[in-house]
């Protein structure tokens, strides 16, 4: 005859309600851990997927993810000439905030260096990779742009030809992949009025230029799109990604790149750390602290619940002591109830979390390791919180039963 279970069965409704409460509390503790994992995973997923060995960025910056970086486009060719580098690709990455169908849309636009890179490395949930060098887009599901959507960005329309999952920027904005040319256009795209103003200013400046005074025909160039202007540098890239040739020594390549005075470079691992130490670090610490706080609160609440459960049983415990029950029996009863409450609460937390977490706007990742850790925490909380009840129970005088 197990007293813990007999007692619970006697007030089953109350115990069930309490378990659900504890379960929801534990679910929040679990969710906090999952959000923490999600943020790390989201921040580094793109870097991991892009699959490049070195990132060459603007000198002194920590780009292109953690901050803005600008490098000249001819850097791609310079990098290609370094012995041991197998491929060198343009990387364009910037965030835009536009309106689409009356809804505000933040997009992290990433350029793929057509024709080398058509996005074949992306794991698509639907559709295909890019097949044309213009006006096609692979959009992350989180942007809410299903396959076939046509979205107007600047003066051009882009058709969504493929979708990905979980590819988002460190800020949580979904990534859209287009060709590098399109990405630059989207970034440079300006409303008609500002373009007219810029052309007018260019013309005004040109009029005072000595060369134009000698050759007036040149002035007609000022009306052409800025990208087509001769003697104007090609638009800048965010970074250049290079892959080391098979069998080549990364250290030798690193030595060459290190000698370039106008750029900095990072390994893939270095990029990860930049992100985790930089933008993500504070969020990570904040959530970590919040989680610790929640765990403490859960422990306190469970201790109070078990304490009141013990208080309700004082008379019964006194009777048991009067008829000669040992402290071990009473201790076992309270501990078993604590473990049962913790265990059932944990089960409810998992069951509820499974249904609720997918509805969150950002990913909540519950790993088996984290679950195991939480199980240990719940075990610890259950034991610790039963101590208060046990402390009370041991002190009940058997004479209390006579009162």
């Amino acid at each position: 005859m197990n007293l813990a279970i007999k007692d619970i069965r006697h007030s089953l409704g109350r115990f069930a309600l309490t378990s659900v409460g504890v379960g929801m509390l534990l679910m929040v503790v679990m969710g906090m851990g999952g959000i923490y994992r999600g943020i790390i995973e989201d921040a580094t997923l793109l870097i991991d997927r892009v699959g490049t060995d070195f990132w060459i960025v603007q000198r002194g910056t920590r780009g292109p993810f953690a901050e803005v970086s600008r490098v000249p486009s001819n850097l791609v060719h310079r990098a290609m000439s370094v012995p041991g580098i197998a491929s060198s690709r343009e990387f364009v990455y910037h965030t835009i905030q536009r309106e689409h169908n009356g809804r505000l849309l933040r997009i992290a636009v990433m350029g793929l260096s057509w024709p080398m890179d058509k996005g074949e490395w992306l794991t698509l949930t639907a559709g295909r990779s890019l097949e044309r060098n213009h006006f096609e887009m692979i959009a992350d599901e989180s942007l809410g742009l299903p396959l076939g959507t046509v979205i107007q960005l600047g003066r051009e329309s882009y058709a969504v030809v493929g979708t990905t999952r979980h590819l988002i920027s460190a800020n949580g904005d979904g990534v859209a992949f287009v060709t590098v040319r399109d990405a630059l256009d989207i970034q440079a795209d300006a409303p008609g009025e500002s373009i007219r103003l810029e052309r007018a200013a260019r013309e005004a400046r040109g009029r005072e230029f000595e060369l134009v005074l000698q050759q007036p025909g040149l002035l007609s160039n000022a009306e052409r799109p800025s990208m087509e202007l001769p003697a104007v540098a090609r638009p800048q890239l965010s970074a250049v990604m290079v892959s080391i040739a098979h069998g080549a020594d990364p250290d030798t390549v690193a030595e060459v790149l290190g000698g370039w005075q106008d750029v900095s470079f990072f390994s893939k691992q270095g990029q990860r750390e930049l992100l985790l130490k930089g933008s993500v670090e504070k969020v990570r610490r904040q959530i970590g602290l919040f989680r610790a706080l929640l765990t403490t609160i859960a422990a306190i609440i469970m201790a109070l619940i078990l304490y009141t459960m013990t208080l309700d049983k004082i008379h019964s415990l006194a009777i048991l002591k009067l008829i000669g029950a040992s402290n071990t029996l009473i201790l076992a009863m309270i501990l078993q109830q604590a473990l049962l409450l913790g265990g059932i609460g944990f089960g409810i937390a998992i069951a509820l979390g499974d249904r609720i977490f997918p509805l969150f706007p950002r990913r909540v990742i519950i790993t088996a390791n984290d679950l195991g850790g939480l199980a240990l925490i719940v075990l610890g909380i259950s034991i610790a919180s039963s101590l208060l009840g046990i402390w009370k129970a041991v002190r009940i005088p058997p004479g209390e039963a006579l009162a």
Partner: protein, 239 residues
């Protein structure tokens, strides 16, 4: 201890109990001596606050007296040379308790309330179940064995409490106003039960009671007044 049964099941000598100290000092027992034979049914009368419950607590090893001796079955159970006993273990094996009300553990059924006393004493589940049912049958409440205490009448609850007190075949049964919550007819039935238990099971039974109508059932009568004990003849009872 059953083999060579001593003449006295319970012996107290010079029991004194002082609660508190200084201004709040209360002397609840003054030099109380009582001897009870096996199979003897003793009534303990007296006004409220006279020290009856305090006396039972001292004999039942619940609350030690300030001074004096208690011998149960010839063994000194307080700090005499032969003491060396754990009060809890001793209570479990040798003493049964019945009190005024709420004797039963509310989350256990009638039969489980009896079984728990056997389980605590190390009885196997099977043997415990059998003995518990026998006892309920003996006390005429076997048909309510699986009921929760709240579903039993006051009289039935006290019968189950007596069954539990008997579970481990104690040599002493202490009852503190066991019929206070019952009407006089049911009260008398329960007192009759104590008589049966004392005479058939050989236990020494002390019952604290205010119920003068059942006094004829008892073998011996004592009255407590202001902490002092004296034996009375039932005919001297107040009207």
């Amino acid at each position: 201890m059953n083999s060579a049964r001593p003449a006295w099941a319970i012996e107290t000598e010079g029991l004194t109990k002082v609660y508190g100290s200084g201004n709040t000092e209360v002397v609840a027992l003054r030099d109380v001596g009582m001897r009870v034979r096996p199979s003897e049914l003793v009534a303990l009368l007296g006004p409220s606050g006279s020290g009856k419950s305090t006396f039972l607590a001292a004999v039942g090893l619940i609350n030690a007296p300030t001074s004096g001796r208690v011998r149960i079955g010839g063994r000194d159970v307080l700090d005499g040379p032969k003491a060396l006993i754990d009060p809890r273990t001793f209570r479990r094996r040798h003493i049964g308790f019945v009190f005024q009300k709420s004797n039963l553990i509310p989350f256990l059924s009638a039969v489980e309330n009896v079984r728990i006393a056997l389980q605590i004493n190390g009885e196997s589940a099977r043997a415990g179940r059998r003995r518990a049912m026998e006892l309920l049958d003996y006390l005429d409440v076997a048909d309510r064995a699986d009921h929760d205490p709240t579903m039993l009448s006051g009289g039935q609850q006290q019968r189950v409490a007596v069954a539990r007190a008997l579970a481990n075949r104690p040599s002493v049964i202490l009852a503190d106003e066991p019929t206070a919550a019952l009407d006089s007819r049911r009260g008398r039935q329960v007192m009759d039960l104590f008589r049966k238990v004392a005479h058939e099971q050989g236990a020494a039974v002390i019952v604290v009671t205010h119920d003068h109508r059942s006094l004829d059932l008892f073998d011996t009568h004592y009255e407590m007044e202001d902490g002092r004990l004296r034996e009375i003849a039932p005919s001297t009872e107040p009207a």
